[in-house]
């Protein structure tokens, strides 16, 4: 199918983009278009105006700060996969990026677009929830920071205001000792994941975060999942209890059937395996 007719504009600054967004209630932000493109072609989305933000220099840049790095919203998955922004989080982001969809999608799809869309079956959401990532969101009142777990309010639902846009993703600085693990289950390689497990384990600091996503349910984050292990040592991945994991997801509000809960718990266990091997 062909999209409905829309107008197109390409602001050169964030402030110009925000102005356009604010004055056009039926406008959509276009970054890489790898989600929006199909939705437009299928006429699921019928905007009057597309605001292309890929030529705003700040959005396609990486900044290093004392507390971590900021990845511009328009940085592509392929740029991260290829190590063109270095190896944030000990190479974890590069690994996750290389498994997103297909190369021809990764070359245009962007990290900020993926997170703004908040599809629970997409990779960045789960991966960065485990890493306790933050977003830099710009709007008429300036820039605000939002923890990713507060930003996502449901499957494909976020607290992004109608006149706001995601400017950057902040990856907190962590010790080299932190281990990240990631595992997803897809029916077909590169397709939306049925289940995703992501973990971050920092033994020295005693931090342990787990994110379960995939499919159609809003993601769940466990900030201290040690009680889900039969062993006292969370590095003993096999001792992660799949039954207890599934029950904990249900108790945390995931209204999924037993199969879906189990599938997610299995990906969590495999993600721990992945982290331990690093």
């Amino acid at each position: 199918m062909k999209p409905v007719a829309f107008d197109y504009t390409r602001p050169r600054s964030i402030s110009a983009a925000l102005e356009l967004l604010d004055s056009n209630p039926n406008a959509k932000i276009l970054a890489g278009g790898q989600t929006l493109g199909p939705m437009l072609n299928l006429r699921l989305v019928q905007p009057e105006l597309l605001i292309d933000i890929t030529r705003i220099p700040e959005l396609a840049a990486v900044t290093e700060g004392d507390d971590g790095i900021g990845i511009g919203a328009c940085v592509t998955h392929a740029a991260i996969e290829d190590g063109r922004i270095g190896e944030p989080a000990n190479g974890y982001l590069n690994r996750v990026a290389s498994g997103i969809a297909y190369r021809a999608v990764r070359t245009r799809g962007t990290i900020g677009g993926s997170l703004s869309h908040a599809d629970p079956a997409a990779d960045w959401l789960a991966a960065l929830l485990a890493l306790n990532g933050e977003l830099e969101i710009v709007g008429a009142n300036g820039t605000r920071r939002a923890a990713l777990d507060a930003f996502v309010t449901g499957a494909m639902e976020t607290d992004l205001g109608p006149s706001e846009l995601v400017a950057a993703v902040r990856i907190p600085k962590r010790s080299r000792a932190i281990r990240h693990g990631y595992h997803k289950i897809c029916r077909k390689t590169g397709e939306f994941a049925d289940a995703i497990g992501a973990v971050a384990i920092d033994d020295k600091k005693g931090e342990f975060r787990m994110a379960a996503a995939g499919g159609s349910h809003a993601p769940i984050v466990f900030t201290d999942p040690r009680h889900l292990f039969r062993s006292a040592d969370p590095m003993d991945a096999d001792s992660f209890d799949i039954e207890m994991g599934g029950a904990a997801l249900r108790d945390a509000g995931m209204n999924a059937d037993d199969y879906d809960l189990r599938l997610r718990a299995i990906t969590l266990q495999r993600a721990v395996h992945d982290a331990v091997q690093r």
């Binding site: 209630p25 039926n26 970054a31 199909p38 328009c74 190369r103 245009r108 494909m156 390689t189 159609s216």
Partner: protein, 409 residues
Amino acid sequence: MNRITLTVNGKEITREVTPRTNLADFLREELFLTGTHVGCEHGVCGACTVVVDGEISRSCITYAVTCDGAEIRTIEDFDDDPLMEKLRHAFSAEHALQCGYCTPGMLVAARDLIRRGAAGDEKVIRVGMSGNLCRCTGYMGIVKAIATVAGDYELVEDQAAVDRPLGPAPGPFAHDSLKEGKPEAARPTDRAKHTPHEAAPTLAAHPAGNVQTGEMVQEGKFTKLTQMITVNHPRDAVWALMGDIEKVAGCMPGVSLDRPPENNHVEGRMLVKLGPINADLKGEADVTRDEDKWRGTIDGKGRDARSASLARGRVEYELSEEDAGESTLVTVSIAYSLAGPLAQFSRGGIVRDLVTRLAGAFAQNLEARLEGREVAGEAQALDAGSLVFSVLWERIRSLFARLAGRKQN
């Protein structure tokens, strides 16, 4: 129309394009480069794969206007490319094509896989080529052909690849025809200005203690979710309240009625937002009440004019006495079905997630109303942190979502 200037297969070209023209159609219909094939037209099949500024892209979900200043290479440009020549011979020798429809995309993607040094053993090649579908060969020949060529290929350092912009091509520093003129102004229209007649209640963040949610079940074409609410009022009082259609409608996030109900019939709309998708359902509902059985139903249907999708919804409630008549158990079920384009996408779970949240908000707002409290957020305008819906009666129609097989942005 927007004027764009770009380089296609080494030639600089300037053309006027409509923003919705995708790059594949532009190449085929403006430039007659018909080697680029269009298969699924929503980023799933890979037949339209071309090279944009050195990296492969899907030209069916890349709009030509965004390629202003970019350098495009299509299958026609690889006649003299040594790596592509080897691939052509190998595809021929290994019977890697039959009808040939997927072949241009396969070749462009395979060349890129080898160029990046990303073609390893058979499994790695299969994963690397998973974005290109072939319905004839079973992939055996394709994988074998790529393995043969990759085995002999000597990786060359590609500084251009290292230096590429971090964002989608062509990036902030490319030639930009739009910059020279004034960007086309957006034209606000009436449909964009529509605001619901009544402010929609927001969704509460946490389930209230008095609401119990059951499992979602399938009943024929309907998906149904049942919830139970206990309220500390006698059944008569609750029954009277449930008879006030406007008040009950106000509990559904986003519903707005066109006018007061007449003869148990209401008309109105329900605006539902899911991600980038907005559905504006206009429709009507009929209310029935069975006083003897303490039961009521609200049957609605609505249509989203833009997508021509239809939704049906049915709310059923039943009141029973608890605590020797001191309190009342309200059992409410919400069932919905979708037809038309919105129903054809396979992410039904996303809709279920949304309906669960809508139904949860409805139950909590209903509980608040029955207990005599304000309905959460009723006085607020549609604001950022809320799920913004404006809805017609209970037809929860939903949204649907997704696109059969693409991936994140």
